[in-house]
């Protein structure tokens, strides 16, 4: 093969017959299909069963505690289960399990190729998959928060309208928190290859350790704003005479020197921080995604 000959003339002439510049970016069909595909992926994994089992824990505990101590005030149960256990442990966990896999799952399973070769930008790919992930985590949160409220209040003395109102507030707070956690962990998954470990470390150090300290550093945690919203919107006062808001002490709010928490962000600011944080994390992650190469290990590359 001293001198490899040319391709024949017929092929070369055919080569001139290329389409003019491809037009259009991506369509709604592509985006919608990707959204549905991601939701279906969530349904087919085992994750939702694990998360579902964990999310049943507060409802199960509520039933157990009511059976063991029928006089326990519903507000105490609500505080311990719906505002300690769920936002501190279950919401970050649900977000962690779903959001760190937004891109990483496709990479690990080598299916990302099927998405990268479609007419969809990588930033849009990320946004749609994150939207589907938020949908899943929010749906799980709504269902299991409502179940928890049912387990706490059904058959109790609290008027139905009050329960409904408190449940709606709790669902709103939890959904916002899980959304922020999801967006944050989605970003972490693009910043590090060990996103699961990185996200767990974040939860342990920031949300569990720093978030529980009465220091200014807790202003960078999601749990702080979640608690502040809960504190400012729901009274956690038991029917016992002279009882105080049980949340203040547990959440390290110094209501003796600052009864109205004037030194803390106001309600609107808390909502804005969580929503703006979610948007900022998502946009940053989408930007990173648009610039990144995704290596799929082929048998050749090994």
């Amino acid at each position: 093969m001293k001198s490899a000959p040319s391709f024949d003339a017929v092929d070369l002439e055919a080569g001139a017959d290329v389409p003019d510049g491809p037009s259009g970016g991506f369509g709604l069909t592509t985006l919608w299909t990707l959204y549905v595909l991601t939701l279906r992926q969530h349904l087919h994994g085992k994750r939702w069963m694990i998360i579902g089992a964990l999310f049943l824990l507060p409802a199960g505990l509520a039933v157990l505690m009511r059976v063991m101590d029928p006089k326990e005030p519903s507000v105490s149960l609500e505080f311990a289960l719906a505002f300690m256990l769920i936002p501190q442990a279950l919401l970050p966990l649900a977000a962690l399990l779903y959001a760190t896999g937004v891109i990483e799952d496709e990479l690990e399973e080598q299916t990302i190729t099927y998405l990268l070769i479609r007419p969809i930008s990588k930033w849009a790919l990320y946004l749609v998959k994150m939207l589907a992930t938020v949908t899943t985590t929010v749906l799980l949160t709504v269902v299991f928060t409502v179940l928890t409220y049912l387990a706490i209040f059904v058959g109790g003395d609290t008027p139905a309208a009050t329960v409904l109102s408190r449940c709606f507030t709790a669902v709103s707070i939890h959904c916002t928190a899980v959304c922020t956690y999801s967006c944050l962990f989605g970003l972490i998954s693009l910043l590090t290859k060990r996103s699961l470990i990185g996200s767990i470390l974040y939860i342990l150090v920031f949300e569990w350790l720093l978030g529980n300290l009465p220091l200014a550093i807790r202003l960078i945690t999601v749990i702080y704003y979640t608690r502040l919203i809960a504190y400012r919107t729901l009274p956690f006062v038991t029917p016992d005479p002279g009882s105080q808001n049980i949340a203040a002490e547990k959440w390290q709010f110094d209501i003796k020197s600052d009864p109205n928490l004037l030194e803390h962000p106001q309600l609107a600011i808390c909502w804005i921080v969580l929503v703006a944080g979610s948007v900022a994390f998502t946009l940053l992650a989408a930007f990173l995604c648009s610039r990144r190469e995704f290596y799929v290990k082929t048998p050749e590359k090994g």
């Binding site: 093969m1 001293k2 001198s3 490899a4 000959p5 040319s6 391709f7 003339a9 017929v10 092929d11 070369l12 002439e13 055919a14 080569g15 001139a16 017959d17 290329v18 389409p19 510049g21 491809p22 037009s23 259009g24 970016g25 991506f26 369509g27 069909t29 592509t30 919608w32 299909t33 990707l34 595909l37 992926q41 087919h44 399973e109 080598q110 299916t111 190729t113 099927y114 998405l115 990268l116 070769i117 479609r118 007419p119 969809i120 930008s121 990588k122 648009s290 190469e293 995704f294 290596y295 799929v296 290990k297 082929t298 048998p299 050749e300 590359k301 090994g302």
Partner: protein
Amino acid sequence: MHSQLPREIAGSAEVKPIVAFHEVSKWYGNVIGINKLTITIPAGVTGLLGPNGAGKSTLLQLATGQLYPSQGTVQVLGQKVWNNPSLNRFIGLCPEQDAFYEWMTGWDFVHTSARLSGLSRSEAREAAAETLEAVGMTKNKDRAVGGYSKGMRQRTKLAQALVHDPEVLFLDEPLTGTDPVARRDLMDIIQRLGGEGKSVLVSSHVLHEVQSLTPNIILLNHGRLVAEGHVRQLRDLIDKYPHHIVLICDDYRKLAGRVLAWEDVEGVRVLATERGLMVETRSPDAFYGRLPQLSLEDGTAIKEVYSDDDNLEAVFKYLVKK
């Protein structure tokens, strides 16, 4: 390396190439995948040949915009490929990795691929049905991909690459691990696509696969272009070396008896752990040609055929030294 093997691409300056690499290099850390590759690929079917690790998959991933070149430029249909998703409407890729959404049925997978490519519901339904029919998967389309044989999986992968009717197809080792019947069918499909005016770049480490599809080949080794041109010249070199073909079959002892009777078979080694045979032959064309018939007539269910093609490496060494 390549400068030692002068080549001509007549008229390449006058026509728009389908794929154009200019001084392209791609590194993975300290490992080089593609090394200063300059090549233009015209319309029609072209074989991309090279041993494992030659850079074939890297080239295809660069050409489909999955990877960004460390150096140089890559164009397909006259357009840059990196971060140009609209170009993907005109491109189809059958990737090498055997990965699927395993829980989907074949129909679901191909239909979803069509929808992801922007086809409307009715268009996607029609396209999925036609494509699955074209690759011979209509009968099994409602089974979960997770239960498919290797041949069915390759057919389904090809279907997802074809479903949006692309202008250019990149097929990465599409015949790997397939049984003789699937191999013949897939080859027929690829040839048909070429006949329909599609441009196809098909990679393989087995010359005899590629030459059945097209006489136009590109030879890669260690990320460099070794040669390009007509397959005939390479064949003469290749056939100086014995060719090793592995056949996987439950009844491999019976199969050994059958193939040993063939005159062009020089030796057979039993691979008991793999439940297969390694056949040595200097007439691989004739050998491959007889396999589908053997599989059908004799009831010898050959599950998988592949070639390590270590002789190709020998040819590369020969070419490089020359």
